[in-house]
Subunit: 164 residues, 6 copies
């Protein structure tokens, strides 16, 4: 148990010589694991108004829907992007968005898997790719857009749960 704790507090992605190394999940048990990450994208006020105006037009939701699709596809690319992540057979991932203030959109990214390791990085990557896609679609209006506070909100199914 002591050992477990120690391992918990060490950089598991480096081997004894300090070289980068994938964690061996071969001996871990298969459980249902869920992770939720969040990011916030902040616009100058006039840009926010312009996007909200567009968003109420006939084909509403194009920016958000494009970012949702990009976020879902980005989630599936996590192990291709992050060197030491394991390839995982995701049960589900999805991306939700809403205007959380006059000038900010909050992106919530959820991933789940029944596997030996968790999906925190998948949820975080999905949120980041969705935010970058919104940035891309709005950057003709302004470069004063900022992606703020990408973080894990919730995690269950692993050694310890996490809730923010």
């Amino acid at each position: 148990m002591k050992k477990e704790e120690e391992k918990n507090n060490s950089l598991t992605h480096l081997d004894e010589e300090g070289n980068p190394s994938m964690v061996d999940v071969g001996g871990k048990s298969v459980t249902k694991r869920i992770a939720i990450a969040q990011t916030v994208i902040s616009f100058p006020k006039e840009v926010a108004l312009q996007i909200q105006g567009q968003d109420n037009a006939t084909k509403k939701g194009s920016i958000f829907q494009t970012a949702m699709i990009a976020g879902i596809m980005g989630t599936k690319k996590t192990s291709d992007l992050i060197p030491l992540c394991h390839p995982l057979p995701l049960d589900k991932c999805n991306i939700e968005m809403e205007w959380s203030s006059e000038t900010e959109v909050t992106i919530k990214s959820t991933a789940s898997v029944t596997s030996k390791t968790g999906v925190e990085m998948e949820a975080l990557t999905g949120a980041s790719v969705a935010a970058l896609t919104i940035y891309d679609m709005c950057k003709a209006l302004s470069h004063d857009i900022v992606i703020k506070e990408t973080k894990l909100m919730h995690k269950t199914g692993g050694k310890s749960d996490f809730n923010r």
Copy 2:
């Protein structure tokens, strides 16, 4: 000129019906374009100390170097991740990192190209992937890590320059 201005202020990634659409760069001129983006990753104090300790060990730099490589490779994947980005023959991209405060690492991502369109999204994507990689390598220590303030710092070679 009026038209140019109008275009400057519209959502160029949506067509007249509001559908997602790639901007046609066919008529734009080939220029040298550079973009620099930045992100900051913030750690709880004890985690920051632990990483800095490891970082001074014999094989120093493993975490940063892994993140640099991931960021460079992520930069090259931008058009694969962001739906309406053009595939671009990058001249160069690179990722730099440093402890900008006791508990924060600042990641600077630079991309350049000689092409018809800019590399803002490439620089931003590289910064994000590098930050996600650092998160991944340190998450065994804590999930109170936050990726803060991903933003464009500098851009030259397009219709208008940008400097923060």
Copy 3:
């Protein structure tokens, strides 16, 4: 049972708000699933004769074999291409081809998996990529080539079987 039927008849890839959403397969049972898809590629008569002539030459089969390989590799890329498809650990996929008439090649694509969700999209994607590859290899002869009737032929292992 009523509910099951209702679910069967709804657009499972949209959530209640109409946004794109991956189906959660976390609660579904792992079964052996097989799907077979088919497509037909049709050539102008003189082009068909030319290909058949080449195909009987010493290194026979180059066009078909290139398309088989592309189809197999395309099958493995399904979840990378189709936004709401799950990544699946395929047990097997393969592509067969034959001249089904004087001017038409029929491509049969089979995929199987032991998993929580089916491989219809994998079989269909494999068939499409194989057909596109044949088109590419023959397009110097004519652009009057048409990919016709890509469809599912057979499916077992899920909630309900399908046979055409």
Copy 4:
């Protein structure tokens, strides 16, 4: 001129020994090239009605918009999918869709590039991936959906134009 014609009528993707071989575009001139491809997806009548009903709901267009994004991203993956296609720096690609009859959706895929070789395969691949995505999103309603008649409609900028 004779030679040109002969080359025009041969399988350029096979070398003299009949092995698969990428065409050398090194000596070809850089021109503006555009290609338009089309595919048609056909639904059973009750399925078509159900989709059209959904499509008029509040978040209208989710299926089409998901397929547009997938088609654009698929267009960019053409050289990754089709073995002998050259990687090309696309100027633009986009996907349009409309109900062309009570039970059929017509997908129009356009690609353009300023390069040494054409984008027919890019346009065709974009159309196919968009069609497969629509199939995926509607398959819970029926497997009697058929992707019909994927073909090139228009091509300019190469040795010879093509119009259907």
Copy 5:
């Protein structure tokens, strides 16, 4: 048993007609499988000295660490690179390197999985990509670098073990 033996001695990646075909692993049992591959990269003496000198500098290990990361990421891409390889949910992969003589670096690549088929190709691909990366990083010094002797060293968990 006779049959098993025969199968053991045949080209399992070709079907009865000699066409390329993925082996069906659907009926095989899930076991823990490990494979270790090795490659050697050989430098001209003066180049070896130069690299070793650099390697002892302050940020030591950059070349090796870049190659380790590339090798790990390459291992994860095996089924994307080798046409008839199955996509596998790796438990772990890693790359080790050391100067095995004055002028040679030996790269050891390990992969493990709990699955129906082995990871020999994953280990071999990881070793090859790591070696190519070292070549790339040193090629400004000389093109007399040679990648020698890529081979399997060890394999357990399948029908028969292998040890060199």
Copy 6:
């Protein structure tokens, strides 16, 4: 000129601090560049005989043709595999193979581009992926197969030519 020489003799893929860094090709001139790489794959005698026997059967060439396709597709993935390689718009790549002795197959990989940087890594990667594919297709016969001597044979169009 002195400087040029110095640059020629330094590790261009590391910056002054020893961190991995992509070479900036922005200022280099666009020239026609060709590279040829070679690898040799060696089989136990009885395995060589078995493959040669198969290779003369009706669908002859399946193993070689699969490896050619994989090698061509691998060449196109070079910048995705090797961290510091630039994405390049290849003019052509191809793979040739022949039995160079009773027990060895020699793989010749050629790549060409009209660009600011060379295609040595593309040629080497294509050869390696082709060799790994042959290994994969023959490994059911024996694991005493060895990939030997992957090296550059020829290079033109850059600062200096190379011929082995």
